[in-house]
C-alpha cells in the first residue's frame, strides 16, 4: 500500500511523497500549448505533482522535477475519429488521422507508464451524457477489463496504479467501482465528470457512492479544477484532482482571483504570470511576497 496513515495523508512515489489532498496541475509537452513550456519549470514551486496525458507524455524530452501522474489518454475516445474496440477481452482505442491509424492498447499505456510515471491510471473510456446506453455499458465493461489487466500486469511496485471508474449515473459508477473490490489498486480515479459538472449535486452523489465502496483508498477526480469545486470535492473525501483550467484561463488573459478582468492581448510573460497566479490560488499555495507587485497590483487590466 502506497498510502501512509488511515486518513491517507500522503501518497508515496519514486520521486517523493505527495501530501493529500493535492491539486495536480496538468501540463503538456510538444508544440501545441507553448504556455505549458513556460509554466512547467515553476510547477515544483507550486504543486506536489503534475498530470500529463499519455499522448503528450510521449513527446516529453525532459522530465519535470516533481512526481508525474500519467493518464491513459482514453479521453481521446470522445473524438469523432476514434473507435473503442474490444481486442482479446480488453478495450483498445483506434484513432484515424488523414495519414494513418493509431491503436492504443492497455499494454502500450502501462509499458510507457512503467518507464516514466510516478502514478499511473488505467486506460478508460469516458461515457458522455449523450451516449447510447448500449455503448455506455460496453465502454464501462472495457474500462473495468483494462483496469484489471493493468493491476495484474504491473511490474513496478513503486508505481501506484489508480483504477479508473466511468458511468452515466450514480448506480453505474457504483457498479463500476464494485468491480474492483478486492483488487490491489492503490487508488480510484473518477472520470467522465467534466460534462456533468453543471449538476454539482449529482457529481457529489457519484463521489459519495464511489467513496462508500472504497472508503480506504485515495480517490482522484479527473478534470475538475476550479477552486470552488475543488474545495467541495476535498470536503467530500476526494484526495486529489487534476486540471488545466489554471493555464487555459491564463492563455485567455484571465485571473481566477479577478473574474471580471480579461487581458485582451496578454504577452507570453503576462500569461505565465497569470497562470502561476491561478495555480497558486487553486493549489492554495502562497506566491513569494515579492511577486505581489507583479501579479496582483500591476494594474495589468487597466490598460
Amino acid at each position: 500500500m502506497m498510502v501512509s496513515g488511515k486518513l491517507h495523508t500522503s501518497l508515496n512515489t519514486a520521486h517523493g511523497a505527495i501530501r493529500l489532498p493535492a491539486y495536480v496541475p496538468v501540463t503538456t509537452f510538444g508544440a501545441k500549448y507553448p504556455l505549458d513550456d513556460l509554466v512547467r519549470p515553476y510547477l515544483p514551486r507550486l504543486a506536489q505533482a503534475a498530470m500529463v496525458s499519455f499522448h503528450y507524455a510521449r513527446q516529453m524530452t525532459e522530465r519535470p522535477a516533481l512526481p508525474l501522474f500519467v493518464d491513459s489518454g482514453g479521453f481521446a475516445s470522445l473524438f469523432q475519429n476514434a473507435t473503442v474496440l474490444m481486442v482479446g477481452g480488453l478495450g483498445v482505442l483506434k484513432t484515424k488521422t488523414e495519414a494513418s491509424t493509431e491503436t492504443l492498447h492497455p499494454r502500450d499505456v502501462l509499458e510507457f507508464q512503467e518507464k516514466h510515471a510516478d502514478v499511473a491510471f488505467s486506460l478508460d473510456f469516458p461515457i458522455p451524457p449523450s451516449m447510447s446506453s448500449h455503448e455506455g455499458r460496453r465502454r464501462l465493461g472495457l474500462t473495468v477489463a483494462n483496469a484489471r489487466w493493468a493491476i495484474e500486469n504491473r511490474r513496478r511496485k513503486d508505481m501506484p496504479i489508480f483504477a479508473c471508474v466511468q458511468g452515466w449515473d450514480v448506480d453505474s459508477y457504483a457498479q463500476c467501482v464494485e468491480a474492483y473490490a478486492g483488487l490491489p489498486f492503490d487508488g480510484i480515479a473518477i472520470g467522465g465528470l467534466v460534462p456533468r459538472v453543471h449538476d454539482l449535486a449529482n457529481v457529489l452523489r457519484i463521489v459519495k457512492a464511489v467513496r462508500a465502496v472504497v472508503p480506504n483508498k485515495p480517490l482522484h477526480v479527473f478534470g475538475l479544477g476550479k477552486p470552488g469545486i475543488v474545495e467541495v470535492l476535498f470536503k467530500h473525501g476526494v484526495h486529489s484532482v487534476d486540471s488545466s483550467s489554471y493555464v487555459k484561463l491564463a492563455a485567455d488573459g484571465r485571473l481566477w482571483g479577478h473574474p471580471t478582468m480579461k487581458l485582451e492581448d496578454a504577452s507570453p510573460a503576462e500569461r505565465l504570470n497569470l497562470a502561476l497566479c491561478n495555480l497558486a490560488t487553486a493549489a492554495q499555495r502562497a506566491l513569494p511576497l515579492s511577486t505581489s507587485h507583479l501579479l496582483f497590483s500591476s494594474r495589468l487590466w487597466e490598460q
Binding site: S267, E270, L272, P288, S290, L294, L295, Q303
Partner: protein
Amino acid sequence: MPEPLEIELNPAQREIVERGLLTSGFSCVLQMPTGAGKTWLAEQAILATLRNGQRAVYITPLRALANELVEKWRQTFEEFEVGVFTGEYGQRQAYPVPFSRARLLVMTPERLDACTRHWRSHWGWLPDVGLLVVDELHLLGEARRGPRLEGAILRVRRLNPFLQILGLSATLGNRSELADWLAGVHYESDWRAIPVSWRCVRYERAADKPRILREQIERCIAGGGQSLVFVQSRRRAEDLALELAESGLAAGHHHAGLDSEDRRRLEHEYRSGGIRVLVSTGTLEMGLNLPARQVILYDLQSFDGNDFVPLSTNTVWQRAGRAGRRGLDTHGEAVLLAPSWDRSAERYARGRFDRVLSGLSDKHFLAEQVLAEVWSGLARTRSQLKRALQVSLAAHQNRLPSVDRIVDEMVEAGMMVEVNQDGLRNTPVLKETRLGRIAVRQMLTPSTVVSLAKAFGANPERPEPAFTFLDILLVCAQTDDCEPLIPVDFEELEDLGARLVREHSTLLSGAHPVVMERFQTRGRRLLAVIKTALIARQWTRTGDTDPVAKSFGCYAFEVRRLSESFGRLLSAATALAAPSGEKDASDDEYVRALLDEGPPLLERIKALASMIGNGLDEQTVTLTFIPGLGAKLARRLRDAGITDIEELALVESDELAKVRGLSRDRASRWVGEAANLIRRRSALTFREFSTKVQASVSTWPANIDQYRLRRALDLTVRRRSDCYLVSGGLEPHRVRMDSVKLSCDCADFAKGENCKHVLATSLKRRDPVVVSLVERLKTVATSSELDLFQLWFDGGRR
C-alpha cells in the same frame, strides 16, 4: 538561513540577520558604507538560496571583479558550481562552467541583458533562479550601462516572478524609492568598522597641490599608514605617481589601462605594503578591496566628455569609503584638496547622496530596450510594451518618455514594422525588421544600426560607395557603440595630420566643409573618431597591441577593447551590406562566389572584420580565403614568410608542412587551392589605391595659442575686488592685474605662456586683439582640405 560563517557580526549585519531581511521573501535594498560587510550578507543570502535548491545570480559591474569573486567563491561555495559570464568569454573562449551547470552565476549587467533578450535559449536555468544580487545598485543611474541593467531587471522579473532581488550600494540618494520600485524593503546603516574623518585641505594656487599632497602622504606614512590618491585622468595618475616616487616615496599608479597582470602585481604589492601610495583613477572606487588609512581626493572635478564638472557626492563617497584598513587602522581619513576660496567642497562631508535616476528616461536608450522587448517576443504590441515599461524605474519616477512616440520613430527609422495579425482582434503587432534584428543581436543602439545601414546598406538604386578600410572604420567609430573613443590632445594634431596624409580615404578627401557634410559628428569628437579609426587600422597592420598603443599614446588594453568593439560593429555592417533575401552573408560559399566578381563593399567589410578580429593586414587576410585556413594559421604562415595567397600558391608543399599544426596532406591541398584562387583574384585585391587624405593645420599668430584661446571661450570669469576668478577648467584660478599686465597663478602661466585664464580674462575685458582672434576662430574653414585645427576649435560638440 544557513549557519553564518565563522565571523563576528557587526551591529548592522546582526540587525539585518535578526530581522530576517535577507530571507523575508521581499526584495531588499541594502545601503551600507564600503567595508561594512555587504558582501558577507550577500554570501549568506546566496548560500541560503543554493541550499534551497535554487540558483543565484550575482551582478557586478567589472569583469576584473567578477573574476576575483569567482576565484574566492569557488572555495566559499565549494559544494556548488560557480560560473563566470562576462564579455571575456562566450565567443573566443568557452565559459569555464556552462550556464546549465552553474548554480551561482557571476555576470556583468550586459551579460544578464543578453540572457534576457535570448531568454528562450536560457529557459533551462532562468526559472531556477531564486536570488539576483545587484552589487553597486547605483549603476542604474549610469548613462549607458544603467538602462541595460534596468532593461535586464525588467525582463528577468517578468520571466521569473519568484525572483528576489538584493540590491547593494554605499551611495544611494533614494534608497526608499528604489525599494518601492522593487516592491521590497530597505535598510540603511552608516556603521563602519573603521571610522573615517573628513578633512578639506586648502590650497592657494593649483601649483601648490603636489607639495600639499606630498605633505599629507608623508604624515600618513610616518604613522604607519598607506595612502590612496584619486585623480581625474590616467595620465595624471602616472605623472603624479612618478613625481612621488622621485621624491622618495614608494608609489605606484593604477588605472583601467593597465593590463591584468600589471594590475594584479600592483594590487599585491600594495596589499603587502611594498607600495605605500597608490595613485588611481576612478577604477578603484568600485569593487576591488584595496583599503588605505588615508584616501586623498586630489581632483574634485572630472571630465564628462565635454567639460570639467564637479564630482558627484556619490563618487566622492565611493572613493572616500576606501579609507581605513580593517585590523590595521583604528581610524581612516578622507582628505579633499580644494581651492581656498571655494567652499562648495564642504558639502561632500555631509553625505547627501545623489538620487539614482533611471537612464530609460533617455529616448535613445529606451529605444534600444523597446526593440529588445519586441525582438525577444516579450512584448509584441504597443499595449504590451506600455505594460512592460509601466513597471520600470523610469515610470516609477515619472520620467518615462512616450512609448508610442518611440515606437513611431522606430517604425519611421525602419527598425520595426507594425502589422495586423489574425487572432488579436485587429491589434497591430510589432515586428522587428532586419535592421532591428541586427541591433538586438549585436547589442547595438538603434541609432548605431541606422547609421551603419545608411552607410553600408545594400541598395540597388545607388552606386556602391567606394569606401576604403579607413572609411569603414570611420563610419563605425562615429557611432555611439564604438568604445572606447580615444580622445585627441591639442598637441597631437600635427601628428594626426601627418598620419592622415599617408592614409587612403574617400570620406576625408575634399574641402573641409565638404568633408564635414559626410559626418554626423563635429569638432573634437570627430577628431577622436579619426584617431580611433587610425588606431584600429594600425592594429590590422601590426597585430601587436603594445606598439600600436605606444605610437598613439593610449593603452594596449584600449586597443584590445577597440578590436572587440569594431568586431561587433563590423558584424552588423556585414549583415547590413549583404543583400536581403539572399543567402546569409556569413556563408563562406557565398563570399567566395563574390570573389569572382571583384571586391564589392560586402567583401571589403568582411575582410576588414577578419583583419580587425585577428590583427591581420589586407594581404595576410587573403590567406583566410582558403577553406579551413583560419586567422591563427594565417598569422603562423605570415610569420613563416608566406604573407598572402600568391606566396602560398608558390610554396612547396613540403616546405609548408614544416609550419606547426599543418599536415602534409593539408599543406598540399592548400597550395592547390591557392593556385586556383589566384587565377581569379590577386593577393593585392584589397590593396588601396584611392585618394590620399589632404589634411592640414591653418596658420595663426604665434604669440597667442589657438588651443588656449579656444579653451578660454569655455571658461567663466568673475570679477572680484582684487582679482578675476576663472573657473570651468581643470582647476579654478585667480588672474590679477599687475600694472598693465595680467598674471595667473597657474602652472602654464608660470612657464611663460599666455594661459587660457589670462586669455579668458582679456576677453572679458574686451581686449581688441583677443576679440578679433576669436572672430577668426568662429569663421568656418573654407580651405581645400580637412583642417584639423578647425575641428579642434569647433569644440566638444557632437
